[in-house]
Symmetry: C2
Subunit: 432 residues, 2 copies
């Protein structure tokens, strides 16, 4: 599907770009670029499996073609979720003097604003540690920035867009997530912007496959926990997501979607649960008086859930051996809290920890059932619930390993919650 007349070719000639900074990793966008994608997923993600190596003259012709068809700057991809807006922004670093002169002031202003700050307004944040430098996208080299802000601050974002005359740039704003639908009219009326709306699960998968394919040095994009059932020996290890299919993709945002992915274009939403990151934060706010995700996680890290939950051993006095339930397993989440004495003996930190454990284990348990039904052994967990949330990641790694007797592997990705936004950006550059 093409829109706004911008379409990126499958090939590019910009093969001798010189990185201006030490790159975090060596990245190319498969599909737009010269290098072979490093794996099947990348090839699929970029839809460029043939006609890759071309002569210089052909390349030059293509260069002109790319220039004509690639969309004008700025390049954004946006994912408007129930809790957070995720924004990826491509900052070109290969701007020529001629281009610099021609560049309109509004465009410069946006670039400067985004790249010279790491915080925007009161709540916008650029995740600098996730920045992908020296990425080549549609024949241009630059840095990919990852920015997030709460969805309830979208009006302020639109106001900023209006103030910076964003609409004068005639860019296409590719947006996914529920908010692309809910706020479409607001984009039009408040900022004179027309959204190109994209399905969030399509974008998610495209984003995951793309990012995994372009990150080839630096911290591995994909990782897992070795010895997940042994806290003393549990360590993070890189994982190569080669031949990724079939894959169970669990996206933990405000709510949870579980997808069985058989190829980039062949996937199904197996199920979901409404008990997700929004439930954790919502309940924590109610139970502890905290007001941010970071605060909730900090409290959880200091608490003890076994004071709040009723364990198998609290009911059985030990294991429930016949059905393989160990004494330490939770029999009833928050089950101790029906007792006044026990309510009075727990701390807010204990409640935060129990909330985290409850939500995480429930997701883990539903995921295991899906993996079993779909006969899939690799599970990739993404979404912003996992951001700075090692507790939940280790818990998921443990649960997958323990209850499946080592059959299931829990995988995680560095760019946790940004894949939908990346997928939206890819749609701008390379419409499907």
């Amino acid at each position: 599907m093409a829109f706004n007349g911008h379409q990126c070719d499958d090939e590019s000639i910009d093969e001798d770009e010189t990185p201006t900074k030490q790159p975090r990793s060596n990245k190319e966008m498969p599909g737009c670029f010269i290098n072979e994608p490093k794996n099947e997923a990348a090839a699929s993600a970029g839809r460029a499996t043939s006609d890759r190596r071309t002569s210089n003259s052909t390349a030059r012709q293509r260069s002109d073609s790319v220039k004509k068809t690639r969309p004008p700057f700025p390049w954004f991809g946006m994912d408007i979720g129930g809790t957070l807006v995720k924004l990826v922004y491509f900052e070109p670093k290969d701007i020529t003097a001629e281009e610099e002169q021609e560049e309109v002031e509004n465009l410069k202003s946006i670039r400067r604003y985004l790249t010279s700050n790491t915080a925007y307004g009161k709540t916008g944040i650029r995740d600098v540690h996730l920045e992908l430098q020296d990425l080549t996208l549609c024949g241009r080299t630059g840095n990919l920035h990852f920015i997030r802000f709460p969805t309830h601050d979208l009006p302020a974002f639109l106001q900023m867009g209006r103030n910076k005359h964003f609409s004068s740039l005639h860019t296409t704003l590719c947006a996914t997530g529920g908010g692309a639908y809910k706020f479409e009219a607001d984009f039009r009326t408040m900022a004179d912007l027309q959204l190109h709306k994209l399905d969030e699960l399509d974008c998610l998968i495209r984003g995951v496959l793309y990012i995994d394919s372009v990150v080839s040095s630096g911290p591995s994009e994909c990782y897992y926990f070795e010895n997940p059932t042994d806290p003393d020996r549990c360590i993070q290890r890189p994982y190569t997501l080669e031949n990724p299919y079939p894959l169970l993709l669990v996206n933990i945002g405000s709510g949870v979607s579980i997808l069985a992915v058989y190829s980039e274009s062949n996937y199904k939403r197996v199920t979901g649960t409404s008990l997700g990151g929004g439930t954790f934060l919502g309940l924590c706010c109610l139970l502890t008086g905290c007001s941010t995700f970071e605060e909730a996680l900090e409290m959880a890290s200091q608490g003890e859930s076994t004071r709040v939950d009723k364990l198998v051993r609290d009911i059985y006095g030990g294991d429930y051996e016949r059905f393989g339930l160990p004494g330490w397993a939770v029999a009833s989440s928050f089950g101790n809290m029906m007792s006044k004495d026990k309510r009075e003996s727990v701390s807010k930190e204990d409640l935060a920890r129990a909330t985290l454990v409850t939500i995480t284990n429930n997701i883990g348990s539903i995921t295991r059932m899906c993996a079993l039904n779909e006969n899939i052994e690799r599970v990739v967990f993404v979404g912003n619930f996992l951001r700075v949330n090692t507790l939940s990641m280790k818990l998921l790694a443990y649960a997958m390993d323990y209850w499946s007797k080592g059959q299931l592997k829990a995988l995680f990705l560095q760019h946790e919650g940004y894949f939908g936004a990346v997928g939206a950006l890819l749609e701008l550059l390379h419409p499907s």
Copy 2:
């Protein structure tokens, strides 16, 4: 397995018992008695599928045999769960004058105490509406009483047993549930009682099949909701649980167990979730300051969960059509509670309702997955979470019907949480 030397024959001669009261229903215990069980389940439950009709002389011989092998009174079955102790007590109504004279005072005292009261201590309750009258059990006719008290009051119960010299009766106390294991030593040391411990899932299934088979008049034991997706036309209807297999049995106590039952003795625990009745009550106590299940339910009945939960329409502005998620579906349970303004605008009743809806829908969702995997269409929900909890039952009926497009049927049983205790009693009378 026999124990204590008491074993009940498969046959009985007491075919001309005269009910002393208008019976709630006409009941026989299959396996011990003359009447044909009304369905296959009953036959299986009683393990008496042959040699049922006998001549008078044979019957008389058997009568003597039954008398010799049936256990002495009192007859109890007990299920000690994480939250509640469930006790079933058989009150013989066919005591002869001779027997009356021979009966020891302790036994009379226990019978009088239990049957002349409907409340015991501060927290013990007899569910009079569930009493099964004129039941014939192992050749004796009487009433089956259903009593419950909180597990944390077990010490008071043991003290009462000690005061009433229960141990002098040399009865076998058949007990199931985790507490049968956890409190075994307490029974011995505090009340000089030896427990015969039984697996709770074995007892549950045996109890379900038995009670369903003996209740043949009065309110149907098994029922469902007709038109579950239309609140105006949704009504409770009797259901005949004939040829019950295969069956998904969902036991919602403090936690939840889901069993796929293929015959009385062939079943498996498919999965479970720690988010059960204990989670509902524990969270409600924390969030609303209530202290009992009844209070929590009353609050929930007056609240509105959509103020607490983030719905699909709150994120999408409407339906998420592509994946069949209607706007009214919950996207993130408690998802609105991360907003300070929204926290301040909800009532305790709203929070109680949201807790109920969250726990119920999560159980419904996991159940649907199990039903799908096991290819089972009938789901029986039991357990004390459903006691006086029409809200959850209708929600489960709705969820099963709506999300399975009418393929799944949610069934409920009048004796909700007592099946484990009934199964324990059956083991006393008819050891497996």
